[in-house]
Symmetry: C2
Subunit: 170 residues, 2 copies
């Protein structure tokens, strides 16, 4: 079973993202708008409760921190994914690091670029058009990260939340 | 903001449901397969943390209980929704009751029929065809309910999980 860890930003940010995702992100139906903190990983049979305990421990020692979106960006030329760029604060970098060290294997293939995907798998014309439009709009948002969620993937690719880890709780 | 409370059954059940939902449920992209425990309700400004505390209290005093799906059924002639019928155990009835009494306003418009929707808004031909097909298949599943989730609705209708309440914790 594939698991993933994500943060769902405020409704305002999700609504703004969905207005683009609906048409331009093939993953639209698979998961609400999110910031991936740990991409698809597997948990060995019988080890789920151990992982949950470790995530609880990490959430307990994390304090809520601000999340700022200041602009739209893209992964061009690597991919033509367009996204809300999340400012890489010390707190989010530290959190992502904890989810890839200690008891967690470091399976990262790319440096961590926190973001909310708006569009992907675009034609060149779509890419230029959407990025042009987004750059004329104002996309600045502030939010407070106070939790993350462990999700698992269904056979159709859709993600279901298994558990929610609120910061600073036991 | 609209909130709802749902239980997401085992991956096996969700996968079985999605094989029908993908084609026959217009809500497919809005939420993974689920059992609704409390349908869309609002929470007054500033009252979310109170509701979360109450849901924690209810989860704390609830013990994990079995969930059994024994057959496929439909709401005909009221609607042509087709669903996995969840056996209405004492435990699930009691849980649903708690989510509509005490601090929660009782906004129920129908008796509680626990189910996982497979198809809805069908033409008459689709309805007959799908129900016939499902009735020739074996749809018996067992699962253990050990949590429920509070979700909120985005402007596009999609649901995001706000928090997970695991039974019998702290």
């Amino acid at each position: 079973m594939n698991f993933g860890i994500a943060y769902f930003p405020s409704k305002e940010i999700q609504d703004a993202a969905n207005s683009y995702r609906k048409r331009y992100d093939p993953h639209y139906a698979l998961i609400p708008p999110h910031v991936t903190l740990k991409s698809s990983f597997t948990i060995a049979e019988g080890k789920l409760s151990e992982v949950v305990s470790e995530l609880k421990r990490i959430a307990n020692e994390t304090k809520p921190f601000p999340l700022r979106i200041t602009k739209v960006s893209s992964f061009e030329p690597v991919t033509n994914t367009i996204y809300f760029k999340v400012e890489p604060s010390d707190e989010i970098i530290e959190l992502e690091e904890k989810l890839h060290s200690g008891k967690f294997e470091d399976t990262r293939k790319h440096p961590f670029v926190p973001h909310v995907t708006l569009a992907q798998d675009l034609t060149h014309v779509e890419f230029t058009d959407i990025l042009g439009r987004l750059n004329m709009e104002n996309h600045q948002y502030e939010d407070t990260v106070d939790r993350f969620q462990l999700l698992y993937q269904l056979e159709n690719g859709q993600w279901t939340v298994h558990d929610t880890f609120v910061f600073g709780k036991e």
